[in-house]
Symmetry: C2
Amino acid sequence: MRPALALALSVLFFASGQARAGDPLPSWNEGPAKQAIVAFVQKTTTAGGPEFVPPAERIAAFDQDGTLWVEHPIYSQVVYCLDRVPAVVKAKPELAGVEPFKTVMSGNREAIGKLGMEDLMKILAATLTGMSVEDFNAEAKKWLATAKDHRWKRPYTDLTFLPMQEVLQYLRANGYKTYIVTGGGQDFVRTYSESTYGVPPEQVVGSAGGTTYGYDKDGKPFLTKEPKLLLNDDKAGKPEGIHLMIGRRPVAAFGNSDGDKQMLEYTKAGDGLRLSMLVMHDDATREYAYGPAEKLPDTKVGTFTQALYDQAKKSGWVVISMKNDWKKIFAFDP
Amino acid sequence: MRPALALALSVLFFASGQARAGDPLPSWNEGPAKQAIVAFVQKTTTAGGPEFVPPAERIAAFDQDGTLWVEHPIYSQVVYCLDRVPAVVKAKPELAGVEPFKTVMSGNREAIGKLGMEDLMKILAATLTGMSVEDFNAEAKKWLATAKDHRWKRPYTDLTFLPMQEVLQYLRANGYKTYIVTGGGQDFVRTYSESTYGVPPEQVVGSAGGTTYGYDKDGKPFLTKEPKLLLNDDKAGKPEGIHLMIGRRPVAAFGNSDGDKQMLEYTKAGDGLRLSMLVMHDDATREYAYGPAEKLPDTKVGTFTQALYDQAKKSGWVVISMKNDWKKIFAFDP
């Protein structure tokens, strides 16, 4: 190779290397949110610095619905459960005339939208339990590969927030173990966490039911999913779930709703430098707007109250404005 | 440096390097148990080979009591709980006259040894719950640093089996994530798992109680340990706990008693090459003998029945004889 060409290539390589090293968060606009993340990572990984965190203690916890992917108008897992009802009714025809299955089978979206929490629990129990772990995983994966969101006409796993994917990768590149800590079903999220977020199943903490060990007719052991809730991983259940499943207090935590309040408090209350952040949905054009300032009709999905906003400001948590802080929201954005 | 000397040194270095690479299990005698471990690791890590296991799926599960450290004459954690009774009674003097606390306070070892399961549960609840996670961790660490086993007069954390420590390290050096899956208390084992075994707290699955999130008088959040059992990580509870906490089936599992049967079955029933092993305590001179052939007085600690031995032989599990397979048992052995 001619020396001039070699030099030019090495300059190019160096420049692109610098660009990558210099901006680990290219989908973020410059501003306090991006600055807070970069400063936190630099300080906690500077050996000998006052804020250094040993690699073994670098635990970061991420809520999923509304923090890592779209949660409106309804949680993706609830869509899964509703989509599974016909198969459940086919297997147990006696359910066809019983509520809430009757309403779901009617296809009347307005009536389905009005189902209460008790009805929803019956649907969750019927569609998420009573089968082997392997059968459940296969069904969930099949659905995720084919079902599409109504607005973007894309698989749900495409609807992850690119800026948050960058945060996950940036933290991992700096020795952090990234955990998902979700109110969603632990088994459900585990079926796609590794391919979608690079988070292995053993780093997913979620609402979890019990299983029962047994044997099939050939004597082969298997686990059956039971309708017995062991961990309701929401609100106070999030720090409780973190203790149960991880056993260490996170150094950084990311959420987007009142359900994440306790996890962010618990994270921030640890010794040394801590990072607690809240994603605020304030971009109706590119995603949805249901932040505290939006005066939206009351939503039960991802509620972010003014009280939470005030607590964040008072406690030194950083609020991320999707509208102002994120250059791109989805990887498929132009 | 003179060439001859340099050559000699490099030969020495090479030889010692070879010795290390060639024998990852120096405390094991040559034999079928050692061979099984080495063959398993080589086959599952040979890229392109028929038994290759991708790094993400390399999960190995180890029972603790009797598999990684001494469990006789009584589980170390039970000694901890008994040792904590005076402090509990001091804090709640009304317990001094109530059984089983009265018997424990009497110091009558024979009477203490006869306490039943219900009494033991009361002692466990009183000594392991009702305090913050931080207070519990501090107390357990203080005890582990000072308490000594009656036979060897050494800290309990010295009484780990050197050959099993080598297996843990050998598996980790080959990309395996090593988990402890113990009937003991998850929080208790987590206080020393990292320093004693190189297993971080998040890779300890154990019998686990619930916690409750709350705030102290200054508004600082903390978790209180509650006497509510979420996971009884023994027998069928082991595969159930593995699913809850890891979400993947192990490729290798190590146990020593009937309480590990289901974990070994579950591991072995997975696709591809699997390794299930049982440590048999048959060395009364160097440790204890309570294996199936020993015809010992019935022990409730680490029971290894003839039925389990027969199942192991029938199912292709490998039984490790402490007497014949282990050159050294403890790191402090001569």
